[in-house]
Subunit: 335 residues, 2 copies
């Protein structure tokens, strides 16, 4: 069977371009004993993948040059030689940007009966959603009714983090990169205050939205917004360092926040985290978030690019602010 | 009775000079009912006082211009109209750089029978010692046998922090600002590795001393050493932000660490703290540290300046590295 997949063919020092990727056709063999053949419905593009494009040690291994961009995908079993896995079953996998693949049965995660559209398992019910949940309750020890500031608030992680905080009775301030996103935060997600970080002084905006200061700052952006957030914290505040998307394409190290010493007098706790540091919270996450989805307390949006050949553009779009909510690539057969 | 006291008379933007202080004579009245008259034996000069010289809101109120420099001091009661307080009793107070003072009985803390020389209550058994103790066990959750890096390791706080970590079976690496201090750390305090931060690359020195990486970084210095320490952390490491003495005299905000995003992948926990955030640990601190002092596991050094007129020089010396261990000012009557 024919499949198309996207290879990494360049290691850009700065912002990636389409030339750093190549769509390649591959022949996929029939599944052997203990194997399944899967056709992907949706591919995930995520900011953390940018780090894997660099050839250096990090918390995940670098992508190989000339190899397929791996990452999350959701698909359906086409053929199975695995007991208990049947054609039509939805599965989550980590083989990335490819249409069809064969693998061992234990290399996919069956999703059972879907509680939401398949693509949600790459977003609100997947890694980004669990990142939001574990960042708030694990890294930042969020308590009901606190004041929360979220950067990158209209993205896959930030939009879930802000909504969960609202569900917990918090006052929530968010920042994003366009007027449309700011409207989304306020009108659709009921943030108490939101602002476009291109306009005016972030520090001033946060003060307007959180005049008493911020208890929990969920940072997806780093750079100037990290500095502004530190400047807005109040005593014993917690900062969950989740990402630093503003810096991922930097060709040299940008200066860090000049106001880190505020942490001393205020007793701030700044904690970096990866979702995998909180694996033990998976059950709680699935129970809570699927419950909130079911009763309508939590909603989500996606930005959908069509066809595997659009995966590089979708990915690059993460860094230009092209997405509201989770960015996914729908493959032609996803219906 | 005559007393001399030191007033703050200038607010230097950068490094303080003797001209920012003035020694003034004052008349001290007899103690009224409920009051004591105290003659100080030792005055404390501490880096945190630098922040109080600036006219801005912080975690402690600024010193007034033309007012006495307040801070820790240990003295003896001369006259008492307070039940239970008798002439000769040693008391800790916070009235600062003055020889003699009268105050209400509840404004001094009686020290009871001394377990160490009086000056130790300004150092190893006082605020700096408790800062070391609470930073390790409170802010950084130190566990036995971990690898610890201490900046400002020959100072009042760092020298205690490093020794406590050694008592807890840790591997301890320290940095200080002279060859003499480095010898002190290695020869007298049994640090496993120490280096002069003026020589070579701090990051490389830490790697030599802690090839497997650092679990707990106790930072008193900030700036480049904070950056180097972050670069040396290993997964789930904790950084106790205690001070940033390298930056206290900066006239403009220095760039922060460029490598803060390492905290994300490694799950680092960076926690700022003040000793007062951990008041509940006072009993444990006094029990443990006085025990270690008594059995010789923990030692201390002091740098002693003589006479109240030397207080400004002693204070300024904190920023030029003039002290090994706690810097104190001995008053003429201290014997």
């Amino acid at each position: 069977m024919k499949s198309r997949e996207v290879h990494l063919v360049g290691r850009p020092p700065g912002t990636p371009t389409p030339d750093d990727f190549r769509v390649v056709e591959a022949d996929i063999g029939d599944p052997g004993p203990g194997e399944v053949l899967v056709r992907n419905l949706f591919l995930s593009v995520d900011p953390y993948m940018r780090g894997r494009m660099r050839d250096r040690k990090s918390y995940v291994a670098p992508f190989g040059l000339g190899a397929t961009m791996t990452g999350g995908a959701v698909g359906q079993v086409v053929e199975s030689q695995v007991p208990g896995l049947f054609p039509g079953d939805h599965v989550l996998s980590n083989f990335g940007w490819r249409e069809v693949f064969t693998c061992a049965g234990d290399e996919v995660t069956p999703l059972g009966e879907l509680r939401a559209p398949a693509s949600a398992y790459l977003g609100v019910l997947g890694m980004p959603g669990m990142t939001a949940y574990t960042g708030l309750f694990g890294a930042a020890s969020l308590k009901d009714g606190e004041t929360v500031f979220v950067s990158g608030a209209a993205g896959a992680v930030g939009s879930v983090a802000g909504q969960i905080a609202k569900i917990k009775g918090c006052r929530v301030v968010g920042t994003a990169g366009s007027a449309e996103k700011v409207r989304y935060l306020v009108d659709d997600l009921a943030f108490d205050h939101a602002f476009d970080y291109h306009e005016g002084q972030p520090r001033q905006h946060i003060r307007e939205g959180a005049p008493e200061g911020v208890d929990v700052f969920f940072d997806n952006v780093g750079g100037e917004l990290l500095q502004a957030g530190i400047g807005a914290m109040r005593e014993f505040g917690r900062i969950a360092l989740c990402g630093a998307i503003s810096m991922y394409n930097d060709t040299e190290a940008a200066p860090g926040p000049t106001n880190l010493a505020r942490a001393i007098g205020l007793g701030l706790n700044i904690r970096g985290f990866l979702v995998r540091h909180y694996r033990h919270m998976r059950k709680d996450f699935m129970r809570d978030v699927s419950g909130w989805l079911a009763d309508g307390q939590l909603t989500y949006r996606e930005t959908v690019y069509e066809g595997i050949e659009s995966a590089p553009d979708a990915f690059i779009g993460l860094f230009t602010g092209a997405n509201i909510g989770k960015m996914v690539v729908r493959l032609d057969d996803a219906g």
